[in-house]
Symmetry: C2
Subunit: 264 residues, 2 copies
Amino acid sequence: MLDSRDRGLAYGDGLFETMRVAADGTIPLQALHLQRLGRGARALAIPLPNQAQLQQALNQATSSLAGPGLIKLILTRGTGGRGYLPPASATPSLLWQTADLPAWSDNDRCYGIEMGVCSQPLFPDPFAGQKHLNRLAQVQSRAEVARQGWQEGLMLSARRQPLEATAMNLFARFKTGWWTPDLALANAGVAGVMREWLLTQLRSRGESVHCDLRPLSQLRDAETVFLTNSVVGVLPVRKLAQWRWGVPDTVLALQAEVDSLFDA
Amino acid sequence: MLDSRDRGLAYGDGLFETMRVAADGTIPLQALHLQRLGRGARALAIPLPNQAQLQQALNQATSSLAGPGLIKLILTRGTGGRGYLPPASATPSLLWQTADLPAWSDNDRCYGIEMGVCSQPLFPDPFAGQKHLNRLAQVQSRAEVARQGWQEGLMLSARRQPLEATAMNLFARFKTGWWTPDLALANAGVAGVMREWLLTQLRSRGESVHCDLRPLSQLRDAETVFLTNSVVGVLPVRKLAQWRWGVPDTVLALQAEVDSLFDA
């Protein structure tokens, strides 16, 4: 339960992280999740609980799961302040929740999913990149995905540049190398932890990785397109609007590499 | 207390109304507030509680106040759904809270307040005009107002057109008539209940009222500038950045007219 005067409810004045717990009860990407939470807390000027408090919440959550699953950590500015004005000295609220892993079929993971292009643009965001609690744009587009019978939806900028899916980041492979949209340049979207992990992996191997903004039409020339997040890992896309792509071994290898993080 | 899995917390997936209660315990603008709540609920596809349920919440709140004050009504989509996806059949949460009237000095109400121009633009919004719970932009700008020692802050579009203050709507009077920014055209901001009430009043008297988007520099030519919301009513602006305005009797008359709504 939460105080109904919490600013997380009143204004979405807070952050969250959804972390995948491995079979052995560990959280393989915990460090990246907590780093992003720390960046978000600095951006929103919310005091970050210390490492011991964060670790205690995660320990309680993993114990309650007793196996693989998901932990959602929510950090809000707590109560107080006058209207929109934050309190001079906030006492943040830290909550945890658990959930089961979502089921993605082997078929989807192997041959890819079908996406559509969402009708509403993803507008710039004063706290772009951060995983804050202002998510009506994603709720709206995710409802469209369901109405249209798609499996995910591509969100475009107002200039019709691909930015991300409703709950996953976008990658593609072109002849010139790997690519993902530059969310900082777009000033929009959520910079996912799995996106960050993959970018680091690819770059550390000396692979060519481009991070910029491209028109939607350029996706036609992609060799392959896939989505990522820290729950599902790597999910190929076989169809978007009128375009179709295959799933090369390089993408299945990336997928397997991510999966192995959680199989310990 | 609120279920911490409520989507109002998780995603800001809900709406609110802040209503001023008059000295006699009535809510003079109740009808306009409930109409806007209804429009917001339709836009977000959240089931609206029936009139009896809404009235019961307001009765409880006014009883608990036992005099003038503020009632905040919060309507969320409730719990459920898978991630961003709303549940097929939502059971909304309806909450009420009360607060004291904020104190604005007679001096400010008579001679006007000092505003600054917020550094961050107010970006377009998928649910522009509605009073939803995604308010990080306002929280951010209100914190800037406090840091800078202003009394309110003017939020501009990315094209530097005045849109609104952090918690109030903007009006001005030019030689050609009254003016307020066209928030529907800007696809941004909150269309306040007091703004709506004033527009109706002015138009019903046959006054000339313009609703469009203008560059910031045009405010230099305004005869007077003022802010409105349903809590404070009409609040003149005496200074914005390098510009100063007087407070003509026409504006004080509007202010008195609004005040009289709550003095019954």
